[in-house]
Amino acid sequence: MIADLQVTAVSHLLASHRPGAERLRVLSAAGQLGFGIVQASFALGIQRRPHFIGCDMGSIDPGPYYLGSGQMAAPQAMVRRDLELVLLAARQLNVPLIIGSAGTAGARPHLEATLDLLREIAIKHGLSFRVATVASDVPRHLLVSATQDGRLQALDHSGAALTLPVPDEAQLLSASHVVAQCGTDTFIGALKQMPDVLIAGRSCDTAIFAALPQMLGYDAGLALHMAKIIECTSLCCEPGGRDAILAELGPNDFILESMNPKAHATPSSVAAHALYEQADPWLAEEPEGTLDLHMARYVALDEHRTQVSGAQFFERPCPTLKVEGAAYEGARAVLLAGVADPTMISVMPRALDEVCERVRSLVPGTWTMVPHLYGQGAVRALPAHQKSQYEMGLVIEFLAPDASTAKTVAAVFKQNLLHFGFPGRLTTGGNLAFAFTPSEIDANDCYRFVLYHLLLGVQPEDVFRIDVQTWNFEEVMA
């Protein structure tokens, strides 16, 4: 039997829910879909019959490798498990499922891989539904013209951020993937296609949870503030965790309630969450404007729930987009070793320079050596008196145009450093301690961020591509 796809989960919600008549129940199931949704708390959330389910699936935090390579950070088996959990629940309740930043970095390969898994699950269970997608890849010509007239700018002018130079045309064209974070308006555009499921490429975390409420007429400031908190699931609670969280949104406030009975949303734990991973605790920039939390108020309803109100949203006349791009740097091999000889530790910087020079004459090519001297300030700059004299952890990266060269350099470098001679050397058996062999390891490809900028003067609809498809797998089952 072919499902009635005229009435979808989104169209049903838009037709049936009236703000003021009842609160909108929003279930945030995952802050990082693919790392294991906690089943017990998710099940409790489903029992509350949410009006829609949202999941965040990505972030820029895991670094440039994922955006550059098109790979997901989460293991595929766990992504499949989590997707199955949320898709089956959403279809059983016939409520919208909204997933943002598909596949970690939200570029085309991430979106495709997520859709492939979703399709596989739909076929397995014989499901029929309508899927809308948003592709967040930025056409390169838009970026090139933006650099020509200064519309690609630094994000932070406060001085409290490192300056990433605006890339030139050649760098823009050579980047592996460039995405922009789509905002609430783009999600609304996709939801107007009346899907059951929305899977978006790189997204603002807020858009996942703020778009449907805004379509229903809820206040943008409230919806965005709610979205900003619940996209991290129960991290805003005491103790914080990864359990699903339910927000009940009304016309003037929203109520937060973790689906883990032991994780309490208290006024201070929720207010403190506004600081998390934010340079500014009061202002959050969205493509469409600024969310201002100066007037936010947090009141305990009971020991488990907190009521939040007061956030304001100030729209900007022209939308701005945050763009992210990663470029291939080379293949990487790493050498791992320890050092316990105090004299060797003290001469290490010089030893690395001299060995580097020696290896250059042995292995030609454009390779680079990047040392991390643990115990000596590899994690942060250390004053001399805090550097370890008695043990050093050595991680040396070798970057080369291809993996074979990187591995060759690492092996040759290892042997030369092991037997490096220096005045006063007592340790003539070898300068390094290895925990295992091979101690030089192929460490995937290396990428770096070349874009983390603000793109001005473009219309979101020129960047983000919305598509919709209807899947009907019920017949496959029959």
């Binding site: 440039p64 994000l155 934010q278 500014d280 740097e329």
Partner: protein, 125 residues
Amino acid sequence: MAALLHVKERSMRLAMTDLGLPITPLPITQLASVIRSKNAGPLCFTVDLFFRDAAAYQRAANSEALQRHSVAHCYGLLASQVRRFELPDIWAMKLSMPRSVCAGSPGDGDLYGAQQHAPLLSLMV
């Protein structure tokens, strides 16, 4: 004797409370319940300090050690590169600063910026 008095007077002036009473600096780890750092995007990291009570917050907010120029000194930065936010309602303070290397670029030693709070752990406030 005159020199000693001068030193004593100066140290008291540096450690006056609002009430004009001298205070003895305490380790920040005795006053704070959370001292954490994290990236705020790949170009910036931010340190959140949550204090145990209003008095601990007030002491920290007034202390010389947590002024922008002092914090900048801990990280080898300029005062103008440190943003400081005070949140007395929740006894918290936020300090946002530039990363030394873009997150995940070759040479970065702390992808998430989660260990950059360390220089503040030994402060006396």
